[in-house]
């Protein structure tokens, strides 16, 4: 069997997801027994347009991105969006909630006119995406699970239930009982509720579940004393593209 060829691409992102993959170290070497990497800026200089599986990190934030995405789509048999920026437009979409001119000036100052930019979108707003690896950043073990599924022809299953389920399995005390709030009840699980386990809250980086009960959660956040604006901020951090409660 010839090894499938794999390439990595990045758009508007921090490259944190590719770093998670590079950090797999020995496991990555083991994976290389089964696949051939032809393009991976994080760890190598070479590049080739001959690949089967494309892993794409980052959001589409300008017109030039669209052409590049379409080219990747036509080269690859399988396209995987990796990380919140690619799957749900991530924190890039925060800028969508404000006037773009203002955002551009804040970031690029006097040079603003040289930088083309429009509202951030996830990859599947432009091209068909076959698989999504959620999270900000993604989890190395989920990346490996997808690779194994692709290599063996098994189904790759992403949880479609809220983070709360995994938070219960982790036997955490709910942050709502500790005077904090979180968006775990509407966020797609798969991370093991790691942020809550480590003493923080869930910010929603894996995006909304398929059928989130946003209104119920808005009500709960109200009940726990959040002001309307604070509720919107909670939802906007990661769900600005997907949309908050009505």
């Amino acid at each position: 069997m010839t090894k499938p060829k794999v390439a990595f691409f990045d758009f508007a992102s921090c490259e944190g997801d590719q770093l998670q993959i590079a950090n797999l170290e020995e496991k990555l070497l083991e994976l290389l027994e089964h696949v051939e990497v032809v393009s991976f800026r994080e760890v190598m200089k070479e590049h080739s347009d001959d690949y089967d599986i494309a892993f794409i990190e980052g959001s589409c934030t300008r017109e030039a991105d669209e052409a590049r995405l379409k080219k990747i789509r036509s080269n690859a048999k399988i396209v995987v969006a990796i990380g919140a920026c690619a799957t749900i437009a991530g924190i890039n979409a925060l800028k969508n909630t404000r006037p773009l001119d203002q955002v551009r000036k804040e970031v690029y100052g006097d040079n603003a006119k040289w930088y083309e930019t429009y509202a951030a979108r996830p990859i599947d707003a432009v091209i068909t995406v076959d698989f999504k690896l959620h999270g900000c950043p993604i989890r190395g073990d989920e990346f490996l699970a997808l690779c194994k599924a692709l290599l063996t022809g098994q189904k790759f299953v992403v949880p479609d239930y809220p983070v709360c389920a995994e938070c219960k399995l982790a036997e955490n005390v709910c942050v709502f009982e500790k005077g904090m709030t979180c968006v775990g009840p509407v966020t797609r699980a798969g991370c093991g509720a790691c942020c809550v386990t480590q003493g923080a809250v869930c910010w929603g980086c894996r995006g909304l579940v398929d059928d989130p009960n946003k209104n119920a959660h808005k009500e709960v956040l109200d009940k726990y004393g959040l002001k309307a604006e604070e509720v919107m901020n909670k939802f906007n951090l990661y769900f600005a593209y997907q949309g908050g409660p009505k």
Partner: protein, 344 residues
């Protein structure tokens, strides 16, 4: 009534001796609450607790349990796995023990679940009489104040000293081998009895279901089509929290994982919950309980009707955990059943 007496010190050294000779799991502090955990030293054990975050079920039915190991290359080989080694569980409250007794029956009938039964055989259970109840608990309403079976030893704090009731020959042996105890004096027995008789009042007065357990089943049946299900479920996250923390929920999903060498792998099971959206989804993609309200109602019928018929009483022990974890506050059996009862 027959009991032995352990001073606090003697109880501690009993536990310490158990730790020296094997795996011991007990109630410990966790983030301002309580959780069953591996006991490193006897002094970490907390017997004066209200309720644990997860029930002790997690030791008889682990969250993840390997069932089969397999190789696909060079040739296909399959090996059944039973992960069971001896352990002692200390600090189990009667309602949680009653739940384990129910699981024992459910896993034994029809198709005997070997993995469960083998693990269960390895468990020594030292139960403890509650000294306080969580504000959500309603075990008084669910016949879960006392249990007569399932424990090897039962501890009751009778004021700085512990009365120990013996449930099994194995418990008796453990005590004789590892503890320094005395026989209970008539005054101790009197104290023990007065503590037991006060237990039914331990759950707060507003945590009472206004019906006997068999009446609860009838109330549900009559109100199967009530608007209450739909109304409450409008606020449901489908987060499954009310399943995953429940001592009597025993549904699981079976999954497979292959190693990175693409040769070896395992089949394992993990906890599942009927409130999760995909729970009743089958291979073809069809979902038998697609609507939140159907899933929300199913949990009640499962526990108070379907399983009640098998077990002769509801599969709810009134621990109150589901009530406490449900952020939209819709899952509480006390409110649900009392509200249904008031309906015409």
């Amino acid at each position: 009534m027959n009991a032995k007496i352990l001073t606090k010190e003697n109880l501690l050294s009993f536990v310490q001796n158990l730790i020296k000779t094997g795996e011991v799991v007990g109630v410990t502090k966790k983030d301002g609450k309580f959780a069953f955990d591996h006991l490193k030293r006897a002094s970490d054990l907390v017997l004066d607790y209200d309720v644990t975050l997860l029930p002790p079920k997690k030791y008889v039915m682990p969250q993840r349990e390997t069932l089969i190991k397999f190789n696909v290359k060079p040739e296909v080989k399959v090996e059944a796995v039973v992960e069971a080694t001896p352990f002692t569980l200390i600090g189990v409250h009667p309602y949680d023990l009653k739940a384990i007794n129910q699981l024992d029956r459910l896993f034994e009938e029809n198709h005997v679940d070997t993995n469960y039964m083998k693990r269960r055989e390895q468990a020594t259970i030292i139960a403890v009489t509650p000294t306080r109840a969580s504000k959500w608990s309603f075990w008084s309403s669910m016949n879960s104040i006392f249990v007569e079976t399932g424990f090897d030893l039962l501890l009751t704090d009778i004021g700085g000293r512990y009365a120990v009731e013996i449930g099994t020959a194995h418990g008796d042996e453990l005590l004789k081998k590892h503890a320094k105890f005395e026989e209970a004096a008539p005054a101790d027995i009197e104290k023990l009895e007065s503590i037991r008789s006060a237990l039914p009042k331990m759950c707060s007065a507003d945590r009472k279901i206004n019906a006997l357990t068999h009446e609860m089943t009838a109330i549900l049946e009559i109100h199967r089509k009530s608007e209450l299900w739909e109304k409450r479920a409008e606020k449901c996250y489908s987060c499954g929290s009310c399943n995953l923390i429940c001592p009597t929920c025993y549904c699981f999903d079976v999954k497979e994982e292959i190693d990175l060498n693409l040769k070896d792998g395992s089949r394992y099971r993990v906890w599942d919950g009927c409130l999760l959206e995909d729970f009743a989804k089958i291979g073809s993609g069809e979902n038998f309980r697609e609507k939140r309200a159907d899933r929300f109602r199913h949990r009640f019928f499962r526990k108070w009707s379907y399983l009640a018929a098998k077990l002769t009483e509801p599969a709810c022990v009134g621990c109150g955990r589901c009530s406490s974890v449900c952020l939209p506050d819709i899952a509480d059996p006390v409110k649900v059943i009392n509200e249904l009862k008031e309906e015409k």
